[in-house]
Amino acid sequence: MSAVAEARSGFAARLADNERWLWRVMLAPAILYIILLVGFPFVLSLYYSLSDATVASRELHFIGLANFRRVMGDATFWLSLRNTLVITIISQFFVIVFANILAAALMGGFRGKWFVRLLILLPWVAPISLGAIGWLWIYDSIYSVINWTGQALGILGPNTWPIWLGDPTLARASIIILNVWRLVPLATVIILAGLSSISQDIHDAAAVDGAGFWRHHFQITAPLILPITLVAVLFGIIFTFTDMIVVFVLTRGGPYDSTQVLASWAYFTGIQGGDLAGGAAISLFLFPVLVAVAVLFLVIARRTEVT
């Protein structure tokens, strides 16, 4: 064996046993990938928002905050911001209420639970663009099954035929329904995990002390699953707030841009309109909410570490 090869195998052997270096070598590829493919594009996005980048431009010039002034001077931007907030808040409210009820109903054992859970998980696991296509058909202006059923049951009058995606208010409601539909499964399984982790002793003690159903639920169970419910809410906020797929498939932002959200408006401005700088500036308005959510995650992580 040559001296070089010997030295190398000696180095490899030392590395294989030196924990400090071993950990660094094992972590480096993942961290490098994340820096190159999350960190770098993010910084680039900041830079674009301060430049005159378009799809065609070869050189970028720094133009300060002009893009932000420009997008904020546009009424569609403010409507998108409002839609994003309204859709997120309303849908998350329903997600949490529904998921708590459903998780409680799924707690006990019953026959066919595996199949029920499969049915309930479908909206979450199916690609959201395809789930949205299913809803597009359900909301169809001529063949909507909701309208047919409503008329058949007498809930809708014989001459009432809502055009779900053609009216701004109904279209926003349709988008909210789809977001609730998609996120209830995730929130349910997360809350279910929280409920299953409560020890039976606590429930027994509450029963012995004579707590009734409501008291038991609101004063004992709810506070115990609060942290995990918060986790479900945070994921729900991220997935709804930053989503453009639902709007893109259902309405393309229409009618007349009345259902645009920040993410879809960034897409239509930046990619379809070729105004990369404007699109980057719009999408960066998603960032403050992400930071807030990240901070809350850190708080939860720290608290659970201490207790």
Partner: protein
């Protein structure tokens, strides 16, 4: 409480329980039920507003499936999704397994901070990054190539999978490795020969999770890919099964079912493990 009222209460509780489940199953699974019905109905039946949409007014047909597989690129899209999925899963495992293990075994407060830091990058959404990426991909000459997706998708699979694997490795007792070290294996050898074989279940979970994320991705696919042949299922179906104003509803619904139900069945076996990852250790 008399036995009769107790029984009445039990029946009422069971009835309420069933009613809640029926409501939610209807809400959550109805679109998929509706896809099944639509897939097998004739176009004429679908488009006759006088018909009861819940019934097969014409005999069921396989025409929509035939059209989907013979006259569209659906099969190609399935193959593309599968190929991208497999390569992305391999890249994800190569990066996330060592990183997850290192984070699980590192000593000191740094490990925790670094782990959470990596996890938080999962929260940076494609809708912030797709605009700079569109230019990066173009300057790399990868536009309209599946390689663009292979390059970019690990940016969201790696952070979450590293986090999941860190949890799995933390659950494996250190004693096993210590015993292996005493037996003369190196630190790395202990990981490869002792830890890897018993963490296969965790690795399989990560494979399913990463693959599911790939099939669900839409924004990057829509931005980078421009030709019919190179689409993945999640982008191709909503974009190209609509010609002009003509919606091929039967074929679209069939495509949605084929692309989502099999994965959901596999996912259902692993869901508890994903939840453990999602809950950031908030459940103990």
């Amino acid at each position: 409480m008399t036995p009769a009222t107790a029984r009445a209460r039990r029946v009422a509780a069971a009835g309420g329980h069933t009613a809640i489940l029926v409501f939610f199953i209807t809400f959550l699974a109805f679109p998929f039920y509706w896809m099944v019905i639509t897939t097998f109905k004739t176009t004429q039946d679908l488009h006759d507003t006088a018909n009861n949409p819940y019934l097969f007014n014409d005999p069921p047909t396989l025409e929509h499936l035939r059209l989907l597989f013979t006259e569209t690129q659906f099969l190609q899209w399935l193959v593309n999704t599968g190929l991208v999925g497999i390569v992305v899963v391999v890249i994800t495992l190569l990066l996330a397994i060592p990183a997850g293990y290192a984070l699980a075994r590192m000593a000191g407060p740094w490990a925790q901070t670094l782990g959470i830091g990596i996890f938080l990058t999962y929260l940076v959404p494609p809708t912030i990054l797709f605009i700079p990426f569109s230019r990066i991909i173009a300057s790399l000459g990868l536009q309209d190539s599946l390689w663009s997706l292979v390059l970019v998708y690990p940016s969201f699979t790696v952070p979450f999978c590293t986090w999941l694997l860190m949890g799995f490795y933390k659950a494996i007792p250190r004693d096993l490795e210590d015993a292996a070290l005493i037996d003369g294996l190196s630190r790395l050898g202990a990981f490869l020969k002792v830890v890897m074989p018993i963490s296969l279940a965790g690795i399989l979970t990560v494979v399913i999770f990463a693959f599911t994320l790939v099939t669900q991705e839409f924004v990057y696919g829509l931005t980078f890919i421009t030709s019919l042949r190179s689409y993945t299922v999640s982008v191709g179906v909503p974009t190209f099964l609509v010609r002009g104003d003509v919606y091929f509803w039967g074929s679209m619904m069939a495509a949605c079912l084929i692309a989502s139900v099999p994965i959901a069945i596999i996912y259902n076996f692993f869901v508890d493990r994903f939840v453990a990852g999602f809950t950031v250790g908030a459940v103990k």
